[in-house]
């Protein structure tokens, strides 16, 4: 029997038992759909995060104590405002240097309250991070120098404290200290489920008094020359090492952050794919099971086919092709569902999803391979069946 004919025989046999075929496929459909969908979500998340990091600007340099690495704990910062001034001298322009000292705090206004991140910053933040105000104004040099108790609210905080009033001009209470709201940021939206508008900026000097510290957590620099950003980083680190012997500092660029985040999110995507892969494997075992049952159920069919001239090989090939057809058609259906699901998720939920060609190719290849691997045993059993015994079976 020619191969084309064998495909036809297998196809006809599957069509003659549509219900059973559909049920057999179900496991593979679900497996492939989840591979495609979960990989799409993993990839989409990675792309979104990368876009956001890139949005920070390619010439941004973050200076932190300790090392930036997957798995290393953040070190306690020894940095002070004097260090910030020193970094400004290294850069050559203090307006290109921003700082942060951040802590969670409860912020009150009237009988409303909100737990949020209160960041002590310099007036340079909007320049360095390209932040824009929706209303009011940002901190000034004199606000910072005098430690004036003024605050700029993130959009979420403004909404939650002043749902029906203009926030600018109002008083708020941060950890028992009164601040005056002077501005509200343009919303940034969500990122990885984190609300980026849930923050309050106050002068770093005021924040230090609030938290009872002389430290700052980190320094950010907008490098004037993108080409020499690595060299600038090295010079800043050398300066800080000189001021704090025995402490390690890192100056990391956007590219390095992308690399680290990419590693983490790559692992995440891999884990998602592996979980989905397991369900695909389970689907394959299901195919094998039902094929075995089907060999028993169709014993008489096999006996009859042999009686009219089918060779053992013809029967074996038929059952193998049936398994491959089941898993391939199941795979294609699963791909369609997975792509549809990914588009739906991306459209109606905040979770990003990006379908990748490699996940489609992989899922389809694996499902077809599953058909072959798990179809072999039932096929051999069918091929070896004794036609006389098969025909006597009732």
């Amino acid at each position: 029997m020619r191969l084309a004919e064998a495909w036809r025989v297998a196809w006809d046999a599957l069509r003659a038992n549509r219900m059973r075929s559909a049920l057999t496929m179900l496991g593979v459909v679900i497996g492939v759909a989840s591979v495609v969908l979960l990989v799409a979500i993993g990839t989409g998340t990675k792309q979104r995060v990368e876009q956001q990091v890139e949005g920070l600007g390619s010439n941004l340099l973050l200076v932190v104590p300790g090392r930036l690495d997957v798995g290393s704990a953040p070190a306690l910062s020894p940095l002070t405002l004097q260090d910030v001034d020193a970094v400004g001298r290294v850069v050559g322009d203090p307006n290109r240097v921003a700082v942060t000292v951040a802590s969670g705090a409860t912020v009150r206004a009237g009988n409303r309250e909100d737990f949020t991140t209160v960041q002590g910053v310099l007036e340079t933040t909007p320049t360095v991070f390209a932040r824009e105000l929706a209303r009011g104004r940002y901190l000034t040099r004199s606000d910072v120098d005098t430690g004036r108790r003024v605050a700029v609210l993130g959009d979420s905080v403004a909404r939650s404290l002043f749902p029906d009033r203009e926030a600018v001009g109002q008083q708020i209470n941060v950890a028992g200290v009164r601040f005056r709201v002077i501005g509200v940021f343009v919303p940034l939206g969500q990122s990885l489920g984190v609300d980026r508008d849930d923050e309050v900026h106050v002068p770093v000097t005021a924040a230090q008094r609030l938290y009872g510290t002389q430290r700052v957590d980190a320094i950010a620099v907008k490098a004037p020359d993108r080409e020499r950003i690595d060299e600038l980083g090295e010079r800043i680190v050398a300066e800080l090492n000189g001021r704090h012997p025995g402490t390690e500092f890192s100056a990391v660029t956007q590219e390095q952050i992308l690399g680290v985040l990419g590693d983490i999110l790559g692992i995440l995507t891999g884990v998602l794919a592996a979980i989905a892969g397991i369900s695909l494997l389970v689907g394959g075992v299901g195919v094998s099971n039902i094929m075995l049952v089907s060999v028993r159920e169709r014993t008489r069919e096999i006996g009859l086919r042999k009686a009219v001239g089918a060779r053992p090989r013809d029967i074996g090939v038929q059952f193998l092709l049936e398994a491959v057809l089941l898993t391939s058609v199941g795979g294609l259906t699963g791909m369609a569902l997975g792509v549809g699901g990914a588009l739906l998720v991306a459209a109606v939920s905040p979770i990003p999803a990006a379908v990748t060609w490699w996940s489609l190719a992989l899922a389809f290849g694996v499902s077809a391979a599953v058909g072959i691997v798990f179809g072999v045993v039932p096929a051999q059993r069918a091929g070896r069946l004794d036609p006389v015994v098969a025909l006597r079976t009732e």
């Binding site: 029997m1 038992n17 042999k306 009686a307 001239g309 060779r311 006389v388």
Partner: protein
């Protein structure tokens, strides 16, 4: 007119192994089926009729003795060769019809041609023509469950004959049918035997049916006890 015999069995035996116990179903049967013959095979239940039919059709191999089908020594053939021999020279009709469920009459009839490598179009044409010959030209696309028992057996007969075999082996072909339908199926088999010259070997429990055959072979306990051809009991 003497032609080469379609099937020759020389002292053929068949022993089943069942849980370590040997069950001798056939104990030395010699039988020649001539081309175009019409043989009725009778005997009590368990006497080995079905076992013999399976051997004669190359569906099973003898434990001992020699078996020649269509001039070919069965003992020397591989499984694929034997399958091909079945396809080309033998047609089976079973008591239980054994049609593929959820498959149209014409596709059921065409099945043996699939394994002969005949193209799809030609298969359908030949199957349809064969269904016409058994009086089912108007039932081509019915499924087995949409056909009466008699019609199903006619489909099975058409399937057995679509390859133009030299021997038709029918094991109690009317066993599942009422007497009227059974008689019609029997007439059809006899007509095809005469018209196309296919040898007909038929197992039956019905003495009246057996009496209509040209030759009667009776079995008991795995051996042939009477054979009208050798005993001179019937018209040979």
């Amino acid at each position: 007119m003497s032609r080469a015999p379609a099937i020759e069995a020389f002292d053929v035996s068949r022993t089943y192994e069942l849980d370590g116990v040997s069950v001798p179903a056939l104990r030395g049967v010699s039988l020649t089926v001539a081309a175009g013959d019409y043989v009725a095979l009778t005997g009590p239940s368990g006497s080995g009729k079905s076992t013999l039919m399976h051997l004669l059709g190359g569906l099973d191999r003898p434990s001992g003795g020699r078996l020649v089908i269509g001039g070919r020594e069965v003992g020397t053939l591989s499984a694929p060769e034997l399958a091909r021999l079945r396809n080309e020279t033998i047609g089976f009709v079973f008591q239980a019809f054994h049609l593929l469920p959820r498959t149209s009459a014409v596709d059921n009839v065409a099945l043996p041609l699939v394994y002969r490598g005949v193209g799809a179009r030609q298969r359908r044409e030949r199957a349809a023509a064969m269904l016409g010959r058994v009086g089912l030209g108007h039932r081509l696309h019915h499924r087995p469950n949409q056909l009466s028992g008699g019609e199903q057996q006619r489909v099975a007969i058409a399937r057995a004959l679509v390859t133009d075999p030299t021997v038709l082996l029918a094991d109690e072909p009317t066993g599942n049918l009422d007497s009227t339908t059974g008689a019609a199926v029997l007439e059809l088999l006899e007509r095809l035997n005469v018209e196309s010259g296919v040898a007909l070997v038929m197992v039956t429990h019905d003495a009246e049916v057996a009496a209509r055959a040209r030759r009667r072979v009776a079995m008991r306990d795995g051996v042939v006890v009477t054979d009208s051809a050798t005993d001179g009991g019937g018209g040979a």
